[in-house]
């Protein structure tokens, strides 16, 4: 088992580093003012948004046990706090953790 864990870590880190490394290799030839740079910028933001939406709507792990309603309520309330506090990042994130733990027991 232990050998498997060790090999899994190595395999996972190689699979992760490949994308980062290839990204740097491609960056050498791309100018920050070029169209292709702007396209990749859009791709990066869109992929991140897709990943985050997926984590919340189709979660894996412990979040999958929380109801849809509680997850959506936490997001809406946290975003509300984010705007009320003039885009402060600390308050909404701390609220979300407490809110999620509380709502999970209520809803």
């Amino acid at each position: 088992m232990s050998i498997n864990i060790f090999l899994s870590i190595i395999v996972t880190s190689i699979a992760t580093y490949i994308s980062r490394f290839l990204g740097v290799l491609s960056s050498v030839r791309i100018k920050e003012t070029s169209k292709i740079f702007r396209w990749f910028n859009c791709l990066a933001y869109a992929t991140l948004a897709a990943l985050i939406a997926r984590t919340i709507i189709f979660p894996v792990g412990v979040l999958s046990e929380a109801s849809y309603l509680s997850r959506i309520l936490v997001i809406v309330l946290s975003l509300g706090i984010f705007f009320i506090t003039k885009k402060n990042f600390v308050y909404p994130t701390i609220f979300s953790a407490l809110g999620m733990a509380l709502l999970n027991n209520l809803i």
């Binding site: 870590i9 994308s19 859009c42 046990e65």
Partner: protein, 234 residues
């Protein structure tokens, strides 16, 4: 070598109000606890965060180990889920490329590409001269990386004291932080469209293919955002 002044300027960015330290720390506490529960020892947990340093990749690895998947299938699954790091690198590193800087800095520091460090660099790079940006980036990356490693250790030892409600709170915190960061970054037509379309299309594509949903959703949403944005500028 690395300019100390710039490195520490980057390192200190985790102390700012928009710092990812809390969100990042909490989610790696959850990872530390998860790794312990699936049978990792402390050394393996630390090494996995140090070497992988990408949350979705660690989650996929943990799930795969639980179901007894082969090394090849772990490789493919992780490569898929972490392929987003490629466009992230391509949309960040051209901002730092400078001929006066040695190449090794770029090859090593690309390991720090993760949502948190990427978002901080994106919102701060304009304040730093181009030739110094890579040193600043190494500072940011080292800071977020060390937070992740320390939090993994904490999570590993705290795992017995964390109940399900607490783990749920820790798990939601990170996506909420990223949502706020993304909403905060929506300053141009392109980025605004990319974020909103990506958030909508990612889950839609999930119904057709869970493995491809992030990449396909990102590719389609990002390309539409790019085309509309370019048309708007012209």
């Amino acid at each position: 070598m690395i300019k100390k002044e710039l490195f520490f300027k980057g390192y200190k960015s985790i102390l700012k109000p928009d710092s990812p330290a809390i969100a990042l720390g909490c989610c790696f506490i959850a990872i530390g606890a998860l790794l312990k529960n699936i049978g990792f020892n402390i050394q393996e947990s630390i090494f996995s965060t140090m070497l992988i340093y990408a949350l979705p990749g660690s989650l996929v690895m943990a799930e795969s180990i639980l179901v007894g998947a082969s090394l090849l299938s772990i490789f493919i699954a992780v490569w898929f889920v972490n392929a987003r790091l490629y466009p992230m690198a391509v949309s960040l590193f051209p901002l730092m490329m400078d001929e006066r800087q040695p190449k090794w800095k770029y090859y090593i520091s690309c390991h720090f590409i993760a949502v948190s460090a990427w978002l901080i660099m994106k919102s701060n790079y304009e304040t730093i001269e181009k030739k110094d940006r890579v040193d600043f980036w190494i500072g940011i990356g080292s800071a977020t990386w060390s937070v992740a490693v320390i939090a993994t250790i904490l999570g590993f030892y705290l795992s017995d004291y964390l109940n399900k409600d607490m783990l749920m709170g820790l798990a939601i915190l990170n996506p909420i932080y990223f949502i706020c960061m993304m909403v905060g970054a929506m300053k141009t037509v392109q980025v605004t469209l990319a974020v909103t379309l990506g958030a909508a299309l990612g889950p839609v594509f999930y119904f057709f293919s869970p493995e491809w949903s992030i990449l396909l959703g990102g590719l389609v949403a990002g390309s539409i955002a790019f085309l509309i944005g370019e048309k708007n500028v012209n």
